[in-house]
Symmetry: C2
Subunit: 212 residues, 2 copies
Amino acid sequence: MEIAILLFNGFTALDAVGPYEILRSVPGTTVRFVAAEAGAIRTDAGSLAIVADYTLETTLSPNILVVPGGPGQAALMKDEKMLDWVRQVHAKTEWTTSVCTGSLVLAAAGLLKGLRATSHWLARDVLREYGAEPRTERVVRDGKIITAAGVSAGIDMALRLVALEWGDRVAQTIQLGIEYDPQPPFNAGSPEKAPEAIVEWLRSRSRFLAQK
Amino acid sequence: MEIAILLFNGFTALDAVGPYEILRSVPGTTVRFVAAEAGAIRTDAGSLAIVADYTLETTLSPNILVVPGGPGQAALMKDEKMLDWVRQVHAKTEWTTSVCTGSLVLAAAGLLKGLRATSHWLARDVLREYGAEPRTERVVRDGKIITAAGVSAGIDMALRLVALEWGDRVAQTIQLGIEYDPQPPFNAGSPEKAPEAIVEWLRSRSRFLAQK
């Protein structure tokens, strides 16, 4: 079972590495980090680079596609070569998945028309412009497409995916292996739960502007 | 404020990237990925490489040190040059932190003698061999040393650290920014909660063997 995780300049590291850590732990899977060009691909912050060992051209039929988000997704949404690759790969995947604003890339590729989907809470409404039905759940499955909310939600998404594809036992084993018994110090992880002033401050400086 | 995250062959990606995503989001911080030699450093699984932009020699006084874990930590624990660097850096840090079996590296450097600390649940008892007092809490602070439990616990550790150093508001803002409102699909993230058969199976094939 081959898993492709897409990298692009300005991706968000945890969007990609959360699902990576879980999916690479499933026996029999191989993970490929894929980008338009092979080599070191920098995050939005610039201080971290993950190596893309594979190019789009050499990775045309992964069983699972993971598209992370990050400010760099805005450029991707206008990159016809990239969107073609996403469409071509999606046609043959068993599962097409996204984390955070990665769902906007799937949307721009036309894959979410008429489907329920989610994204980072600051970007969720943009999905509507592409004909998708934004949902507030942390992980949203519609057919073979699974979209996750912002950044850290990729961990929950990948565990759900493992349970769907390989069964609960495999997912539980990996969850215990990565000791995923989360204890956030605050109850502030969603706009419904966080202090209103913080929600508004983040809204005011949101970089998730994806004009169609 | 400079943050150094140590990389080494056979590190676990999420151990490093969880804290990275949080600490790099604090205004005014710079993060350096540091290794014995600069260049791409591969994880335990081999399919992911993060670029170390800095060497040990050029990073001698970070304010915060983060030591991730992963099977590669066993070699680190016998690497006197590396342990010297850890001791030298620790002498000047404001905070010295670890995720997962990264705490065994701190222990091997002699930093945990007489201190409360934690590690991956499969490795916790090894801490005792180095004079530390193993604890079952997910995040353990003793003085300026903060150790986290396995892999995903680095996210909770880093949020705690941000709250301690920069205040609750900054930590809550970052938590909302990465939408950290975890919803694991199973209640299986600790040995106390997971099905007994899964706990025993992981114990039987544990790779966290760190003989002194």
